[in-house]
Symmetry: C2
Subunit: 187 residues, 2 copies
């Protein structure tokens, strides 16, 4: 019936920004401010972006609306992927995460159209699974040089566990340590 | 696996704009130009909107991102709802449709993240089912005053057949009579 069937609370474990030159790796901050288009100064900020391999229905490089504004991952899924890969940990930084939640384990299965709402009033609109690609796998590999084939294995083992992409639906601040509410949209 | 599993072609039966004062009813044009935010001059145009009953997770009237930029319906679903209600036809105008397609019957079941692509290069990003509400039912009732309880029955019988809402992902023109391509995103 397309209703909001359930609400869940979770904890914001960390908030991060991709503000390093030539890198998607993110860095922790006490708080981020999200606005329409994402986080000012972040690599993925903007109401528009250039079409890439994930938008292969458009000519490469064409300007399109940016629905990949914010990347959210869960601590539990990071731990599950680390376990599957046989490494001690996968840090959200290595995945380019902007928001890390704890207490909503199956984040990647969150349906499109669901929201994550924060105490400031900020709201993120779920645009679906973030398809794993090799680049975070390469970063993981660089941290564990003695473990074989992590780049390729990451793509395989991170399916449905690599978190989601979001549009900023309502601007506001998001702070590490606060509680958030997930409103699940059920089709 | 979150891939584009299938592409379908369909025909643009009509394009329409909601440019009448105080009404969501749309009017046909030979062509519309979509840009980020929708169709300039349309009632639903804008990168932001005011939160309403469909966004009850936000305080009423708060400015939020507008994911309800474009309304798309299919001729086949309009006909199916008309049949279920026992009326000769339901015109897309009465539903406030901006784009009407023919040849992709189960439009409302199109998954979020799918696209409708047009010859100009314009692209619409599916944001999911348009939940039926009473207002179009009231319009239908006004056209068939002798048929009982059409407003309420519309809400019931239009479930999963009332079309979808879209974000403009790539600006461009959309013209009546042209072919479009639907790329289905499969989760």
């Amino acid at each position: 019936m397309g209703q909001i069937a359930q609400s869940h609370s979770c904890t914001v474990e960390a908030v991060l920004i991709a503000n390093q030159a030539e890198s998607f790796i993110t860095s922790r901050l006490p708080q981020i401010d999200v606005t329409y288009g994402g986080i000012a100064g972040d690599r993925h900020f903007g109401l528009t972006k250039r079409a890439g391999v994930r938008e292969s229905m458009y000519p490469r490089g064409m300007e399109i609306f940016n629905r990949r504004q914010i990347t959210v991952v869960s601590m539990e899924e990071c731990a599950a992927v680390a376990e599957a890969l046989g490494v001690p940990e996968i840090r959200p930084e290595w995945l380019g995460a902007n928001v890390v939640v704890r207490g909503f384990p199956d984040l990647t299965r969150l349906s499109n159209g669901s929201r994550i709402l924060f105490p400031s009033g900020a709201g993120l609109l779920c645009e679906g699974e973030n398809q794993p690609c090799r680049y975070p796998g390469d970063v993981i590999q660089s941290h564990y040089p003695d473990v074989a084939k992590l780049s390729a294995r990451f793509v395989q083992h991170a399916q449905r566990r690599r978190g989601i992409i979001c549009i900023v639906e309502r601007p506001g601040a998001i702070a590490a340590g606060e509680e958030a509410t997930v409103t699940v949209y059920e089709d």
